[in-house]
Symmetry: none
């Protein structure tokens, strides 16, 4: 017998009617792929099939032809629709036998629960003759390990709380990653540029992608994330090089790494200065305050703010001149400015150094030709400093406009706190 081949690539299979029919969400494939990548095996496909013998065994065979390692989850339980044992046997061209250790384990389990080992439960001791059973320390169903066309196939139970420890116990130690194949990844978070603009600035790096190194972008709610990946012995150095290139190209738009958000950065920078921020919200209705206080420890830099949704509240709570609202409208540059100054002049302003104010048309109603839905003015005031107001036109529905307004507000605050120059025109900003 030749030496077993290295595990360069893997396929991940999820089994279950409830998954294919959209009645339950598959989170196993993501978890397994993330683990495999770190272990040096590259996931190349996920598939989800119903509790169907033919579909399961066909997919197992096809996957085994395509890659070196197959991880399947689900279909190992005691009910009639659990067919993974039979499917593996069929895909291996093997017969099912009863595994002695599994049977002993199942008998013990049922004795403990003072239940009978029914034929259905006993069927969980079956395995293809040329496979081995994998003990399950967190449930009843043993897993399976077989080989099809030289590819290792692991079948694990579907419930994540059983699957994850079994993966670590049985799959992790069995991985034969190609030497130097462990993958390192890094994520840089940016704010201020559209994804297409970031992509244009990085296009040569993105095109230069090889199996060993890669630069890619994803965007969510105004945050463009640049994902770096490198493989092999030099991975960390490659990542450092890519990291430096991306920062050079994207400039001040890069604000942090994978676990950083604009809110965590704002809280961090305020803490360093021993300063505080307060908020006044109209169209965002509380989302800005919620984003700041989502950061544990934000109480060190934040006392609170004001939800001035109605025009009258802007006047009675923040002291915005009613004639200003009458002349310019509640969604306007002067009102955003007055709201931000109003926070600094309020009771909460007593020990607050920075203030953000948001007023806009979130839709679906309330838009005009001059100020369509998505028009948002954001004011940033600083004690003893000038007040800056930016005018945005944000695409999307009510939820999008509100969530993205929060991003823009925290973007303005963090550019100010970082003391770096913002891109000439922020994402969604329009010239006055």
């Amino acid at each position: 017998m030749s030496a077993p081949r290295a595990h360069a690539t893997a396929c991940v299979l999820s089994v279950g009617d409830e998954l294919v029919l959209g009645q339950a969400l598959d989170t196993n494939s993501m978890w397994i792929s993330d683990r495999l990548l770190v272990l040096g095996v590259r996931p190349v496909e996920h598939a989800t099939v119903p509790d169907d013998l033919g579909a399961q065994s066909d997919t197992l065979r096809a996957m085994a032809r395509r890659c070196d390692l197959v991880i399947a989850t689900g279909g190992l339980g005691p009910t009639k629709d659990d067919l993974t044992r039979h499917a593996l046997a069929q895909a291996m061209g093997d017969v099912l036998v009863e595994d002695d250790e599994s049977l002993t384990f199942l008998e013990g389990l049922e004795r403990e629960r003072e239940r009978a080992l029914t034929p259905e439960r006993r069927a969980q001791a079956l395995r293809p003759a040329r496979s081995r059973a994998l003990p399950n320390g967190f449930g009843t169903a043993p897993g399976l390990h077989g080989v099809i066309d030289g590819a290792d196939v692991f079948c694990l139970p579907g419930p994540p709380r059983e699957m994850r420890p079994m993966f670590e116990a049985h799959v992790t130690p069995a991985i034969r990653a190609s030497p130097g194949s462990a993958v390192s990844t890094r994520v840089l978070r940016t704010y201020g540029l559209a994804e297409a603009d970031a992509g244009a600035l990085l296009s040569d790096l993105m095109e230069r992608a090889t199996d060993d190194s890669m630069v890619g972008t994803t965007a969510s709610g105004g945050i463009v994330s640049v994902r770096l990946r490198a493989t092999g012995a030099d991975a960390v150095r490659t990542l450092d090089d890519l990291d430096a290139l991306v920062r050079e190209r994207l400039g001040s738009a890069v604000f942090g790494g994978e676990h950083e958000t604009l809110a965590t950065l704002a809280v961090l920078l305020l803490k360093e200065r021993g300063e505080r921020v307060g908020v006044a919200e109209s169209c965002t209705g509380g989302l800005l305050g919620a984003a700041i206080t989502a950061v544990p420890g934000s109480s060190a830099v934040y006392d609170g703010g004001y939800l001035t949704y109605a025009d009258g509240a802007k006047t009675s709570v923040l002291g915005v001149d009613a004639s200003l609202i009458e002349r310019h409208g509640a969604v306007s540059e002067p009102v955003a400015r007055a709201m931000a100054r109003g926070v600094l002049a309020s009771p909460i302003g007593a020990r607050t150094d920075h203030a953000l104010a948001v007023t806009g048309v979130a839709g679906p109603d309330g838009g005009t030709d001059e100020k369509p839905v998505g028009t948002v003015f954001i004011g940033y005031a600083r004690r003893g400093g000038a007040t800056e107001v930016r005018h945005f036109r944000i695409a999307g529905d009510r939820d999008d406009v509100r969530a993205r307004s929060v991003t823009a507000a925290l973007g303005m605050l963090t550019f100010a706190l970082r003391g770096v120059e913002a891109p000439a025109k922020l994402l969604w900003e329009i010239r006055r």
Copy 2:
């Protein structure tokens, strides 16, 4: 040309390196499958492949051979790694051409945003010559509809907020379900009961499930949803019968249908009365105000509120007696009561009839033996009426405690506005 065949079965394809490598979770496949099932088409497989031309086109072809309808998401954006247009062309054996309408749309979009139409963005107007482009009302990337081996293939953008409306606009009307296969579903939303308790009250209905009819529960953030499904000619009558049984069993916990939230119900009931609510938030930090203002038209029933995160803000803004905080702690029954009364006495209270106040320990720090993380007091005050305070102990991390506190607050408000009796002990409530 023969009549186009019915859509009996469907395959769902998700495209993206970030998905295959386990860096992001695919929620599109579940959503699409759930919609297809309701439309009478049976999903038979999901697959996820990387941003790779060969893998994408091979999978499209294989899926088109296997079923009548293929829904693919992702890979339509403006960056180099977006290859779905090319993959569809390759799978169709077709060439790419520029779509005039898409080009006009993209040009208009960029003009509006005062940006140039870069070659990268312009590439989004490409489509296989024998396909048609599907306008995208919520983003930049048009979708595609082509035919491979007689199977309809729809390619939609990956972001759910673009994909979902495009599915409804372009896929739903194109479905040719087999006669009698359409599935009817209904969802009842409940608040106040734990899922296990709701399940126990419905257990006989849930066990009685057949291929044609089903009752199931799902829970999210304290809202337990009861899902009803029925197939065939009598589907609507079956749903009506199940609906009545569920309401009989769960009583006042049932507050609405699929598209109802506690916030939409609160806004509706307040509008009917011509009354207004105001808020004071500590641990929720703005999430309660955000939930109310997430409802379009909420300005008719809501003027605003106060984010009193620091103890000092509770005193200076809401007039909570500092000695009360000193004696009982900021997270306490008397402080929740004083915060709620404080809203009614504030400038915003001038035309506000109901007030909600939330104060709690969201964690991860700040918990004590007496008031562990998850301890939340919610006050509900009514002009000219008594003030009710409930004491909750909410499980989960910081985000969970905050989000569930909002549910509990809106739950208290809606029980009061509906004038029905709440369950003896609300979900998460602990006896004083």
